[in-house]
Amino acid sequence: MSEASTTLDIHQIEARATEKTTFGFWVYLMTDCVLFAGLFATYVVLRGNTFGGPSGAELFKLPYVLIETMALLTSSFTCGMAMLAAQRRDRTQVLAWLAVTFLLGLTFLGMELSEFRNMVLEGNSWRRSGFLSGYFTLVGTHGLHITFGLIWMAVTSVFTIKKGLTESMRKRLTLLSLFWHFLDVIWIFIFTIVYLFGAKGI
């Protein structure tokens, strides 16, 4: 398409597209929120159904989960720094902060998987009881979201290197950061309802 021949205002169109997409993404996040609400509800219903297996108080190690949590919360902060850099059009800083965010996210995911692995090795897999099914599914779904977030982050970083911080790229970064912060908020609820309440037997 030749831009010279058109009367269309490309900047206005792009701005409108950004607005539409951002709003649409918010709506998507809310549907995801309902999805997690469903998982939280099932977890809460099943958390007492240990069927002779271990309860949360016996399984969860709070200091470990706290480190995991701090890794994720910090990654949200660094993701915010990447966004600020994007607004300054500073590509190097965007990439640097995204890299830090990626590593923190990877740390979080690694810690979570190692926790899962230990539980399974101790004979407490998702097959053990209704409680553990609920636990693995709720926490695992969040982990799956983090995995997709990391893939997305890697792809967006490559695009940023290739294309620079165009309007369309900044839109994509905004969506990515929305997604990442959203997962952070969900984790705070998981940390509270699953781990804190669970470890204290509330």
């Binding site: 539409k20 549907t31 509800a41 099932t42 159904n49 069927f51 998702w126 009881s129 209704g130 294309k163």
Partner: protein, 660 residues
């Protein structure tokens, strides 16, 4: 080694009995026939470029409706089999189907009719009409829209594949556990059900987001919310419900799948599972789903009544409030589907009262339509007949529903044919009649010619009388104690005559469907006599009638400016002609990526159903790769220049003269 690569798949999974073989053969031959026909006509390239990869919502809408109509034929075939079985299987006779096969047909009928007929017709009509009604050229996310359709298509393909390889769920259309758990349903049937609905359901959820954003962000300048056509209001409400309810379905299906494939214990009878939780979750989606389907149909009725009564819609504001009251209340009634589960008198009382209350906004709407007709100059075209049939049948069904909202009465008729009669009157009388009316009403806008009205009316009368004949006896049978999903009963009960009457009714509905197909064929045959040259065949009120028929790909040459509620009507009254100003238009390019994404989703579902995990993983990786490749595309749109638009516009005018 080789065997394990194929999971549970083996030759013995091909159909063994005559009826299933017939069904499988008709699916395979039907698909082959289409492939051969297209190849012989040399139309593959045309099909791919003009339809399959198209991102024009009007074309996507047509594809939705084509799929839904084909599925309607399959679902109606299932219905006729069930009616035959129940009319025959009394006493010594065991009818034509064995018990397990009958249960599969019941489950397939419900699943197909709700997910692939009603949902398909709904999204089809929304695609056709919504952008036109709000003065937009497209939906908010055209690519996502095409992907939604193809996901819907993949789900449909999985359901039908179950007839050819393996079997289908025999656990009812909502697959209650523990029956649907691996222990009691060890075959692939329930897995087919899960993955077909999961894939189609994700498509529906994406559509919900898409249309919601379209309505909120893409209305023509001046079209404030209280100037929206009623169909747009009802779609907005329905899409809000989709966004809230479909994630719950996704969760519920996923948990059942985890139980069945990974051995989890969400809904199992032992090991700390809780089957009652499934029933709560599925209805927390399922009840809003009923309103997701019926609200757009209400919107269609509102458009049709106003048009054919030549009056503006009575009580516009109260209609809007009624819609939103229904949206809110629809999330407060789900427990009425299982009063007998024993949640306790107080809980049952609450949900019973809320269920009664939801009848009030619905009643408001019925009266508003009747008052719109009052003193109108009504023209009794076939869409109007569907509407009036709806009022009668829906009101009968609705009153029965309010009756059942009293828990004490519900205990008597729970799980009986009384309930079956009630919800068919709501879904067929309310939803399907509405979508038939809508298709007849908007057909000329999409194809440029009207459907044969006489045959449409005849089809309506067969449908209407057949339907009443098929379902009124079920109320009586339900009160006599006949339960749903009954494949055999004792002759001494005296039920057989009523079942035979119901069977005759179903046959009449079958004639109605045949007449609708005939109507389509005759109308295409005589299309030149039925050309809509004005773009406004019914003397309509809303914006879609202000553009030529068939509507051009870009919908509007000039985006209209809105000052009135029924803008087009007001313009006709004042004799105002819209100013034509040609401008450059941005349109989405075709993309095959949607087809591939949904194709990989299909393969993924197939792999999960048959436990061919390497295939499922491969499919998911391909799917993600396709999305990433698509995301690389920086220019998903092209510009139609003002000159080209002008040329197309003149071509349209010339074609019009040719017919005049």
């Amino acid at each position: 080694m080789f065997a394990s690569l194929l999971g549970r798949l083996s030759w013995s999974q091909l159909p063994q009995d005559a009826i299933t073989r017939g069904g499988a053969a008709s699916i395979v031959l039907g698909a082959l026939g289409i492939v051969v026909l297209i190849t012989v006509l040399g139309r593959w390239k045309w099909l791919w470029k003009e339809w399959l990869t198209s991102q024009d919502p009007k074309k996507i809408g047509v594809m939705y409706i084509v799929v839904a109509v084909v599925m309607l034929l399959r679902g109606a075939g299932d219905a006729l089999l069930m009616r035959t079985q129940q009319a025959a299987a009394a006493g010594a006779s065991h009818g034509i189907l064995d018990s397990y096969h009958f249960q599969q047909i019941v489950s397939a009928h419900g699943t197909i009719m709700i997910f692939f007929v009603a949902m398909g017709l709904m999204f089809g009509l929304i695609n056709l009409v919504l952008p036109l009604q709000i003065g937009a050229r497209d939906v908010a996310f055209p690519f996502l829209n095409a992907t939604s359709f193809w996901l819907f298509f993949s789900g449909m393909a999985l359901v039908n594949l179950s007839l050819v390889i393996g079997d289908f769920s025999a656990a009812g259309w909502l697959a209650y556990p523990p029956l649907s758990e691996l222990k009691y349903s060890p075959t692939v049937g329930v897995d087919y059900w899960i993955w077909a609905l999961q894939i189609a359901g994700v498509g529906s959820m994406l559509s919900g987001i898409n249309f919601l954003v379209t309505i909120i962000k893409m209305r023509a300048p001046g079209m404030t919310f209280m100037k929206l056509p009623m169909f747009v209001w009802s779609v907005m409400a329905s899409m809000v419900l989709v966004a809230f309810a479909f994630p719950i379905l996704t969760v519920t299906l996923a948990l059942l799948a985890l139980d069945r494939t990974l051995g989890m214990h969400f809904f199992t009878a032992g090991s700390g599972g809780n089957a009652m939780m499934y029933v709560n979750l599925i209805w927390a989606w399922g009840h809003p789903e009923v309103y997701i389907l019926v609200l757009p149909a209400f919107g269609i009725y509102s458009e049709i009544v106003a048009t054919f009564a030549r009056k503006k819609l009575f009580g516009y504001a109260s209609m809007v409030w009624a819609i939103w009251a229904i949206v809110f209340l629809s999330f407060t009634v789900w427990l009425h589907h299982f009063f007998t589960m024993g949640a306790g008198a107080n809980v049952n009382a609450f949900f019973g009262i809320m269920t009664g209350i939801i009848g009030i906004p619905t009643g408001v709407k019925i009266f508003n339509w009747l008052f719109t007709m009052y003193r109108g100059r009504i023209s009794f075209k076939s869409p109007m007949l569907w509407f009036m049939g709806f009022v009668v049948i829906f009101t009968i069904g609705g009153v029965m529903g309010v009756l059942m909202s009293v828990p004490a009465i519900d205990y008597q008729v729970h799980n009986s044919l009384f309930l079956v009669a009630h919800f068919h009157m709501m879904i067929v009388g309310g939803v399907v009649f509405g979508y038939f009316a809508g298709i007849t009403y908007w057909f000329p806008k999409i194809f440029g010619f009207r459907l044969h009205d006489g045959l449409g009316k005849l089809a309506f009368w067969f449908w209407g009388t057949g339907f009443v004949l098929a379902f009124m006896p079920l109320y009586i049978l339900g009160l006599m104690g006949a339960t749903r999903r009954l494949d055999h009963y004792d002759a001494s009960l005296g039920w057989q005559p009523l079942f035979i009457v119901a069977g005759i009714g179903a046959c009449l509905v079958g004639v109605g469907i045949a007449l609708q197909l005939l109507q389509l064929v005759v109308s295409i045959w005589q299309r030149d006599q039925r050309r809509d040259l004005t773009g406004d065949p019914w003397n309509g009120r809303t914006l879609e009638w202000s553009v030529p028929s068939p509507a051009p790909a870009y919908n509007f040459t000039t985006i209209p400016v809105i000052t009135e509620r029924d803008q087009f009507w007001a313009d006709k009254q004042s004799g105002k002609k819209p100013v034509k100003r040609y401008e450059d238009i941005l349109l989405p390019k075709n993309s095959g990526a949607s087809v591939f994404i949904a194709g990989f989703a299909f393969v993924f579902g197939f792999g999960m159903i048959w436990h061919i995990y390497w295939l499922a993983i491969l499919a998911i990786l391909s799917l993600v790769t396709t999305i990433i490749v698509r995301a690389c595309n920086d220019e998903p749109e092209y510009i139609l220049t003002a000159k080209e638009v002008e040329k197309m516009d003149h071509a349209l005018a010339r074609r019009k003269e040719q017919y005049v």
